[in-house]
């Protein structure tokens, strides 16, 4: 059986590599909490490459304007049609930020309309239980950015309310962007929601 590989998507526009510590942190959490067979290091895959079809879950983030090229758009559309899932996180956590505006527009154009994901969705019970929806990030609480707590994530849903694209304005990329060794200094592991996303992608 092939091990799960956490893949970060590389796109032509913007800064795709703005959160380089997130993959290692989530890999550590998956190994820590679950028995999922997982590769010890992540992969970086170009969205214009056929290699993206080897990684049915792809993580995208950035601060800058977000646009797919024509080839990337075609590939991404094909990717989710075959059963892949994208997790896109706004590294700016701004309501009207440039990444948010361009990314939501691009996702709607490439993959379908984004809708608010109900906080009762299976995602929030895939492993850990989050009764109140997506966990709040420190960036939302400390007033840095738009000074709002985003109560819901957004998603492009498929049949059976399966998530095809998960979009977050909560800046989990900043929240999870630290060395895994630092987890022991935290009272609550904030990457637990990342475990839910991966378990959900692997099981639904």
């Amino acid at each position: 059986m092939s091990a799960f590989v956490f893949a970060t998507g590389r796109y032509e526009s913007g800064d795709w590599d703005s959160a380089p510590l997130v993959p290692a942190n989530l890999i550590d959490s998956i190994a820590r909490y679950t028995s999922i067979e997982i590769a010890p290091s992540g992969a970086i895959v170009r969205l214009s490459s056929d290699a993206m079809f080897d990684y049915p879950l792809i993580y995208l983030t950035g601060h800058l304007p977000f646009r797919f090229t024509t080839e990337e758009r075609r590939q991404v559309r094909e990717f989710i049609d075959r059963g892949g899932m994208l997790f896109v996180d706004d590294h700016n956590h701004d309501v009207g930020g440039v990444f948010h505006r361009t990314a939501t527009e691009e996702i709607a154009r490439s993959c379908g309309p984004l809708v608010d994901l109900p906080n009762t969705h299976d995602l929030y019970r895939a492993f850990f239980v989050f009764d109140h929806g997506p966990p709040t990030t420190t960036q939302e609480l400390n007033g840095w950015g738009d000074n709002l707590v985003h109560a819901q994530l957004q998603a492009v849903l498929g049949p059976g309310d399966r998530i095809r694209v998960l979009y977050s304005s909560k800046d989990y990329s900043s929240e999870w962007g630290y060395h895994p060794e630092s987890k022991r200094q935290r009272s609550v592991d904030d990457t637990r929601f990342g475990v839910n996303i991966i378990v959900y992608a692997l099981s639904r």
């Binding site: 059986m1 092939s2 799960f4 909490y33 679950t34 028995s35 999922i36 067979e37 079809f53 080897d54 049915p56 094909e78 049609d81 075959r82 059963g83 892949g84 895939a126 492993f127 059976g160 378990v199 992608a201 692997l202 099981s203 639904r204």
Partner: protein
């Protein structure tokens, strides 16, 4: 003298033409002729020459006459039809599929069709051929034979066992897309499992088949073995073969070595359909699916030649007594000849 010949030929042609028109207008089918003859015949004896296999109604009629003391003798009018039998059964596939089996002499070209039209053709080899039609058929015809298919199968849910992985995820996804209801019990840790659907007992009253995708099925080995002995279908895939070795020897178990079929789904635009077909085919091969029998149908005539001989006995030579009207082709020949003689004669004497 010549004009007499021409008039005669023209008269013959006109008579032939009129007769042909009348014959076509009043042409009756073999079935109608047989029914009329059966009605008209006395109760002494019946002699019949068949140019095709009679319908079940005519067969039964003749058999009833024989049972009532009438001497029934029959034979084939020309070449006997090819003895052929067809049987069809629905496959355990929610999308609908039918396996059609035809018994026919090797080399026979068999045309399969239903009420809506042709489905497939094939040449029989080694005594027959088998075709899987990707649709749920109500009836199937094969070169004169016709079988009515049982109404439906009872399709219970499937149970997928394994670990949380791309393979289990996409197997479940493809089977659900195919129309199956799928329950899952996927190991996620020593004290965690991802479950979907009901936590029903593992028996044939609740599940049509169990799919052990990998070694995550180890803890259910005893239940799976008991299920297999009940007649339930089991698919043992990937690393599950190592932990379920004893079960794999049961008759209703399919072993499947590849545990990365999800790549088939992701590899091309046709991948999802190919992946669905792959797993639906494996499940259909083993699934326990009780059949709801269809009521006997008058159109059901799966082996017409064999049934004719079974009902009426072997054919016997019969005298073709009486003077019957010639075949319409003979009349057509007479008509053509008359016109030709008339035209040739007129041309030879220079008339228009």
């Amino acid at each position: 003298m010549r004009s007499v010949v021409e008039r005669t030929a023209r008269l013959v042609a006109i008579v032939a033409l009129a007769w042909s028109a009348w014959a076509i207008a009043h042409r009756t089918s073999v079935e109608t002729n047989a029914r009329r003859a059966l009605t008209d015949w006395t109760t002494q004896s019946v002699r019949i020459a068949l140019d095709s296999t009679p319908s079940p109604v005519v067969r039964d009629w003749l058999a009833a006459l024989r049972r009532n003391g009438v001497t029934v003798a029959w034979s084939w009018w020309r070449t006997p039809p090819t003895p052929l039998a067809v049987a069809a059964a629905p496959l355990a596939d929610p999308a609908g599929a039918t396996r059609v089996a035809v018994a026919a002499p090797s080399g026979t070209l068999v045309a399969l069709a239903d009420r809506l039209g042709s489905i497939d053709t094939g040449r029989a080899a080694s005594g027959g051929l088998t075709v899987v039609a990707p649709i749920a058929l109500k009836s199937i015809g094969a070169s004169g034979a016709r079988a009515v298919i049982a109404d439906s199968l009872v399709l219970r849910p499937l149970l997928v066992l394994g670990t949380v992985s791309w393979e289990t995820k996409f197997v479940v996804r493809s089977l659900e897309e195919r129309g199956w209801t799928v329950d899952t019990r996927l190991v996620l840790g020593p004290h965690h499992a991802v479950t979907q659907g009901r936590d029903s007992p593992l028996d044939t009253a609740h599940y049509a088949a169990v799919l052990a995708i990998d070694s995550g099925a180890r803890s259910a080995a005893a239940s799976i073995e008991r299920y297999a002995t009940q007649g339930g279908g089991v698919i043992v895939a990937g690393s599950a073969r190592r932990v379920l070795g004893a079960i794999a020897r049961a008759s209703n178990v399919v072993q499947f070595g590849d545990d990365t079929t999800w790549r088939l789904r992701m590899d091309s635009a046709h991948g999802p359909a190919a992946h669905r077909d792959l797993w639906a085919g494996l499940v259909a091969a083993v699934a326990y699916a009780p059949r709801v029998p269809a009521a006997a149908h008058v159109e059901d005539d799966p082996a017409p030649v064999a049934s004719t001989i079974a009902r009426l006995g072997p054919p016997t030579p019969v005298e073709r007594g009486g003077i019957g009207w010639p075949d319409p082709w003979v009349w057509f020949g007479v008509l053509a000849l008359g016109l030709l003689v008339d035209w040739t004669s007129r041309r030879l004497r220079g008339a228009p």
